[in-house]
């Protein structure tokens, strides 16, 4: 048994890299600094090693050959999932370029809310170390932060040392929309976050009013979405008075139509506050299941985030048209390659055409795919890189054990070579 320290996690999105993990053969145990997201993701038992074709166990070469056959017979392949590490995405895009595939990351409908706002008017954002050292006011919009990233408060808000705050316990936290589910947001000196809840459906209106108040517009109603306008006015004043206010949101939580407009309202009010003479920054939360990794790599290799089509021989970006789930439902493809190296529960949508799955070992299917190749997990079975939520830091993932499970890049490159 060996013990590995300073293990970075690709699962939680906030780049925790202080885990200690014991390795006993193939069995992993998180000894310290685990959390509700990371611990089960690391400790998951490997249940299958052998690729399958038509439900029968075969050698890897045979599974690759079958995958090649399916892709060769396809005139419009769809590559979904796209949940893997940097090298996995590099190989995935090389293959997509080669066979004219559509590439779509599984979280893109959520990520789209951010990209549409960013590509329309831009934003001002910050990163985790700036939050850790500077943030004196955190406004959490539309999300129960602690269930999403359990260690956020411990690592980045209630941290002991801060370069620019005398006492991190004096930081202020405001929840707008959702209430916190636990007590992580309570400061070490017992101070509770201010909580202003509303229904998800009312959030666009609430943030629109918040932005109007930032701009100094008069609001004639007394309340919006059940929140008093005077309370929102106080939020605005606190944001304007903060030395380094941070507004965070998770696009995946904003599951209502045209949520990009709510994101845009948030981003624009942050810009307005900066133009008025105070500092304020956004912190969009994601970084799960390779979503940012996919869009970063697609960004430099294709020029666009991870929802693109190579059907015409060059990358085309359309945040709606190349939604793989819609394409599968509408029969707009004729082969599906699903890549999911992090989460064995994230199985592909059922398609009525040939399906190849490169999945984290342990996937259980409703409908057995034509080809299944169990993958090693980046950061467990092989080294790699994953982007964390602020898009800046690509954490260097470690190999923790020798499982013999192949990497995404290894399998996809083998398929591309054989095409």
């Amino acid at each position: 048994m060996t013990e590995i320290t300073e293990v970075p996690s690709p699962f939680c999105g906030i780049g925790t890299d202080d885990l200690t993990i014991s390795v006993d053969g193939l069995s992993l145990k998180v000894l310290s600094n685990g959390c509700a997201v990371n611990t089960p993701a690391f400790e998951q038992v490997v249940t299958d090693f052998k690729p399958r074709v038509g439900g029968n166990q075969v050698a890897l070469e045979h599974a690759v050959a079958k995958a090649v056959e399916i892709l060769q017979d396809s005139s419009q392949p769809i590559i979904g999932g796209c949940a893997t590490d940097v090298n996995g995405m590099r190989a995935l895009l090389a293959l997509a370029d080669r066979c004219g595939a559509v590439v779509d990351q599984l979280n893109f409908n959520a990520a789209r809310r951010n990209y549409l706002a960013m590509q329309d008017s831009g934003w001002m954002t910050t990163t985790l170390a700036e939050v850790k050292n500077r943030c004196d006011l955190l406004l959490v919009v539309g999300k129960d932060l602690e269930s999403f990233v359990p260690r956020f408060f411990e690592r980045y808000l209630w941290n002991q040392g801060s370069m620019f705050l005398e006492d991190t316990a004096n930081r202020e936290v405001i929840y707008l929309g959702k209430a916190p589910s636990g007590t992580a947001q309570v400061s070490p000196n017992g101070k509770q976050a201010q909580v202003l809840t509303c229904a998800d459906a009312d959030l666009p209106e609430v943030v629109a009013v918040l932005r109007a108040l930032v701009k100094g517009h008069k609001i004639v109603v007394d309340s919006v979405g059940g929140i008093k306008v005077s309370d929102l006015q106080t939020v605005v004043e606190r944001l304007q008075a903060a030395k380094y206010g941070v507004v965070t949101w998770a696009a995946s939580a904003l599951a209502f139509d045209q949520a990009e407009l709510a994101v845009q309202s948030v981003c624009e009010l942050i810009k307005d506050i900066n133009d008025q003479g105070s500092r304020c920054s956004g912190l969009p939360l994601s970084g799960k299941e390779g979503d940012l990794t996919a869009s970063q790599v697609a960004g430099w290799i294709s020029g666009y985030p991870a929802r693109i089509s190579y059907a015409k021989g060059y990358p085309e970006y359309d945040p709606y048209l190349y939604d793989s789930r819609a394409m599968i439902e509408n029969g707009e493809g004729d082969a599906l390659l699903w890549v999911q190296a992090f989460n064995s529960k994230a199985i592909p949508p059922v398609a009525d055409f040939p399906t190849i799955v490169l999945g984290r070992s342990g996937m259980v299917f409703d409908k057995e795919p034509d080809v299944y190749i169990p993958l090693g997990t980046p950061g467990i079975d092989h080294a790699g890189y994953a982007y964390r939520t602020d898009s800046v830091v690509a954490i260097r993932l470690k190999k923790l054990r020798d499982s013999g499970l192949p990497s995404t890049a290894g399998v996809l490159s083998a398929i591309e070579k054989a095409l």
């Binding site: 780049g15 370029d97 170390a129 500077r134 690592r155 370069m163 105070s278 020029g303």
Partner: protein, 555 residues
């Protein structure tokens, strides 16, 4: 494999050859002396009537790293206008202002460039910069690590740590981020913006730290020199784009006290406040100062008209300029107690007075600085214009009548505010070769690159002589990279992978004691996970590291 390039007219300033006929021999990737008469030549290229130079080196171009990728993602409409289709040899991608990585490599190579340096590598984002650059085919590459607004250095300076301690930190940073030089962007200003300062002059203190930009520049310039890093401190000055900043720039030149210093995209720092619009050219003063101070080198950061996108570490100035964004969308970021970035799309217009004069100022600087070994051809890609405009820029420098024709079309008030029409100078081919090859290799300290004498690597570009210099430089006949033919008639014929150039100055390993504590207490990753290891470059089977010698007996 022995290759002979026969009868070309060679411009090799590093070897002292200025337009003479020479045969060049390449064996196993390197240029070799003429072999014995009985040695068999495997392949011969008849270069009679052709112009031969070494492969061009872009010493300042934003080709890798976070802000560049933000720039790519921010402007899908720009990419849509320039799709790049896959071929049997090359990958697909997208082009124009901030091309995708593969397209960057192909387009540089197709213009005869074989090496390019990313000038703004945030140490915390260095992994991304190198990952992007390792997806740029054909070119050699490297980066300059950004310091000067990182809290660690500012804390050291405030605590009056000695120069030796700073040197150790600088050397550690170079090794941890795998870079070849040190860059300062708006010294201390990126940090000051986080404390809500909106401008920072050369002698103005950071609101939190007891430090001025002048101190930062001096300390880092000394560190770079004492460590023996060949490339002088690479400085993006204070007050970028601010009318009147010519005084700051002159003060920066004088204030560094004779230490080697490279002032980058100096065009953006050469503005006066004269005239009806309170915006004028400071080019003559800048050129005079550069001519006089032999410790100073510059690159111009020429603007050329059209749509582009600016991506800079200088979030303070980028934020101040966001009102000029075209289209109106922009991104600013504070980054990891390390640095920041600002990404603002720009459309430079010849009928806009300021833009027109910026164009003229850049050209004035090129033409008034008299030593081509100390001025370098850049557009600060993509900030002044995409790198694909270089052939046009070369024509502007080499062809006075073309230049004056262009001048006659810009905003009339800008024409009145520039002395450009009165400047007769035309760059020679030898001077172009200095600026884009020999001088750049010397400035960065690249061993065995940028020259055509025996021992150099076989990075060679062959052009057909053409009075239209834009046409000539747009489409080389041949480009060799490490002795392999990669471009023929302006088209990629072979794809290979270049190396990453670095320096490895020594440091006292005890520097890591403090750093480890700092990382644990204040940052969000472990020091051990921050440092980039050598095998991260080689594990994909196509990358490599090339460490260059240090100067002045430094280890």
């Amino acid at each position: 494999m022995l290759i002979k390039l026969t009868g070309g007219t060679v411009y090799d300033p590093a070897g002292g050859i200025d337009g003479q006929k020479r045969d060049i021999y390449i064996q196993d990737g390197r240029i070799v002396d003429r072999p014995a008469a009985d040695v068999k030549i495997d392949q011969e290229y008849d270069l009679t009537g052709k112009v031969v130079m070494s492969g061009a080196i872009d010493m300042h171009t934003h080709i890798g790293g976070g802000k560049g990728n933000i720039a790519r993602i921010l402007l899908p409409e720009d990419h849509r206008s320039d799709p790049v289709i896959r071929t049997n040899l090359t990958r697909s991608g997208s082009g124009h202002a901030m091309p995708s990585t593969y397209v960057t490599g192909y387009r540089y190579a197709e213009m005869g460039y074989t090496t390019a340096f990313e000038p703004a590598v945030l140490p915390v984002n260095a992994r991304q910069a190198h990952m992007e650059m390792s997806d740029i085919p054909i070119l050699d590459k490297g980066g300059y690590a950004m310091l000067g607004s990182d809290d660690y250095l500012l804390r050291m300076l405030t605590a009056k740590k000695d120069q030796k301690a700073v040197n150790d930190y600088v050397a550690w940073t170079l090794q941890a981020s795998k870079c070849i030089g040190i860059k300062v962007v708006n010294a201390g200003g990126i940090s000051a913006f986080k404390f809500n300062q909106r401008k920072l002059d050369l002698d103005e203190k950071n609101a939190h730290y007891d430090v001025t930009p002048r101190q930062i520049l001096q300390t880092l310039a000394i560190a770079v020199k004492e460590l023996g890093v060949p490339h002088p401190l690479h400085v993006h000055g204070c007050n970028l784009g601010v009318p009147g900043n010519v005084d700051t720039t002159l003060d920066t030149i004088q204030g560094v006290g004779g230490l080697p210093m490279h002032l980058t995209h100096i065009q953006f720092h050469s503005y006066g406040t004269e005239g009806d619009f309170k915006f004028s050219s400071g080019a003559a003063q800048i050129a005079e100062a550069v001519n006089k101070h032999k410790n100073i080198t510059i690159d111009v950061g020429q603007i050329l008209f059209g749509q582009t996108i600016t991506a800079s570490g200088d979030n303070m100035r980028q934020h101040a300029n966001h009102k000029h964004a075209h289209p109106n969308k922009w991104v600013c970021m504070d980054i990891e107690c390390d640095a920041g970035c600002g990404v603002v799309p720009f459309k430079y217009k010849d009928q806009n007075f300021v833009n027109a004069l910026q164009w003229a100022i850049g050209l004035e600087i090129f033409l008034l600085v008299n030593d081509p070994w100390r001025v370098f051809l850049t557009t600060d890609h993509p900030n002044g214009a995409p790198f694909t405009t270089y052939p046009h820029l070369i024509r502007l420098l080499m062809d006075k009548s073309f230049r004056n024709d262009m001048l006659a079309t810009i905003h009339p008030e800008a024409q009145k505010m520039t002395t450009l029409a009165a400047i007769d100078r035309e760059y020679t081919l030898n001077e172009i070769a200095i600026m884009t090859r020999a001088g750049a290799a010397k400035l960065i300290g690249l061993k065995d690159r940028g020259g055509l004498t025996a021992g150099n690597w076989g990075d060679i570009t062959v052009y057909t002589e053409n009075a239209d210099r834009q046409k000539m430089f747009e489409k080389p006949d041949y480009v060799f990279k490490d002795g392999e033919l990669v471009v023929k008639d302006g088209q990629i014929v072979h794809v290979k992978w270049g190396t990453t150039h670095i320096v490895k100055p020594d440091y006292d390993t005890s520097v890591e004691k403090d750093l480890k504590h700092y990382f644990d207490r204040y940052l969000t990753m472990k020091m051990g996970n921050f440092k980039i290891s050598d095998d991260e470059f080689t594990e994909d089977g196509r990358g490599s590291l090339t460490a260059h010698p240090l100067q002045g007996g430094a280890q």
